[in-house]
Amino acid sequence: MRVFWRLVGFEYKKILYKKSVIIVLALAVIVTAVSVWGTLLGNYYIGGEVFESNYDAMVKDRSYARALSGREIDSKLIMETVEAYSKIPKKDRYYDTPEYQAFARKYSEIYRIVRPIYNSESRRFNMEDFQRLTGEQAAGFYAARHSRQVQALEETGMSGKAKEKLIALDEQIKTPFTFSYTDGYTRFFTLMYTVGLMAAFVMAICIAPIFSGEYSSGADQLILASKHGKNMLITAKLFTGFTLASAICLVLTAINYILTILTFGFDGLNSQLQLYYPMSTYPLTMGQTALLFSVCVFFACLMTAAITMLLSAKSKSAYGVIIIITLILIVPMFINVSYDRIWLYNLLHLLPSGMMEFGSVTSPVQYELSGVIVKPYVFLPLFAAVAGILVTPFAYRSFKTHQIV
């Protein structure tokens, strides 16, 4: 076992001694930090004049949201919001009006959660509609949500059993929702997609040469003619690839989480996911969602690492490996598949970049295998783990049987 760990140490040395790797890792950390703080830079302008800095705006909105934290989103709070929004004069950029700033802004988070529930298939429920929301409509908020939920599920191509399961899940969600300030978590969710993709890309750059670098440099001849070169070293290389990929993903996720939470606030850990995604069918808290989302991104990175190492073991060029991985990560981002073609939709979300989307992790569309219905946030990491486990022996074998020609 000692030999194994010494080999792992040397594999890490080979990777981390490269200046390009250090630069890429440093850039990834900087970009993650900048992504967190990016939205706070600059100012908000009204009529060409600086109204407030983005940071001040965040602080103000946070204090407004915190003032409402703990209140139930019931007809009373909804009508309070309607009343506040009613004071806004009819204007295209209503949020630039003094009335919005003075009265409605305090309720903007409630407005954001409530308004979309009243959208219909043919018409978007806009601000003017909201100003005219009646007490009866407000009282029927959760019924309206449930009815939209049933309708949305009917429109998917899922089996009746899956739809029933989702409706049953939705009924477990505690209503009325209890409002809380959750920006720390919601920003984390938003940024996690970029962070996940970046982690996968950085990891690919770091580990793409793990096998192919030996071929291109010619060190493969020495390795494959040595005692441990065709067995323990390969295991050590795979271990290094997976642990480095894990470390990159975990460190960037941790930086994203810590900086986001420190900047925007810790509030919302135990709040319902529905405060961010009102139509979600899952009775999860923000904290649970953050954990599940991070797990999905982590396993997506591990699956990417397995694919990278397989390509590396097959190819003599690390650049070729990086290009293929980049295409695997980027191309699916431009493909949009609707819920009605469920198999294609589910398949697309099994690609690494698909797994890193908040939408696919918390998607209502279930994975159904031989009558077993699995939630996406359970199926995605499981699939990634199985795919990684299946791919890895091929990488092992490719290097072991590599011929020096």
Partner: protein, 288 residues
Amino acid sequence: MELTLDRVTKQYGNKIACDRISLTLRRGVYGLLGANGAGKTTLMRMMCGVLAPTFGTVNYDGIDVSRENYRDLLGYLPQDFGYYPEFSALDFMLYIAVLKGLSKVRAREKSLELLELVSLENEAKKKIKTFSGGMKQRLGIAQSLLNDPKVLILDEPTAGLDPKERVRFRNMISRLGGDRIVLLSTHIVSDVEHIADTILIMKSGQLVHKGTLEEIIGTIQGKVWECSIPPSVADRLCERYPVINLRNEGKNMFLRLISEEKPCDCAVTAQASLEDLYLYYFSEVSEG
């Protein structure tokens, strides 16, 4: 201690790189001679287990060369191989030592000892990317000896070494051949001439000759000629026979050449050397 090759063949498409080579190597130094493309490197790779033969087997005392316990006994210096530019010479040696299964303490001791042997002790902590070609070659030689191999295969080991280092390394190989199998390929005929107990000659993928220096040279004994002739005659002979040496001698030209029959009236036979033999076997290739 026997390395046995049985009808070893390597074919790439229509090209046969090694053609049914059968050979048994025992303790001692073997010199493998052949022109570029003769199949020397392919043969050595198959003997190291890094290239599978299309047909035939290579075994060491009954152990197939693809097995780990054979690799444990093997030292290999490939012709062109990669280093890790950011590693120091010592890091590189320690890494190869781990690959060869040496304990941490032994790896350090042996690495330092071998770096000293190849005169790199003062460069042990310098990055390999700062090394000259000769220094890299010496490092390559050092790594091949880390596990005190029973089978040592050296592909062009003296390439890039200065004459002093070459002679030193040659002597070292001679000593190593005392208790192991050493096979080296080279273009430098004098290296083989000085140290090889047995000489193997490959041509077009086939082993065309195997024997001691005397046995091998015996095949061209009486076919090496020397003469001093006018330039016009020299030009004519140069076109007809493989010429080993040519120099001006006043108005005449001195020629050393190989010929089955007496090339000219004034020619006298000379003592054959391995270089003459090399030219004799590969003159067609050289011309091509």
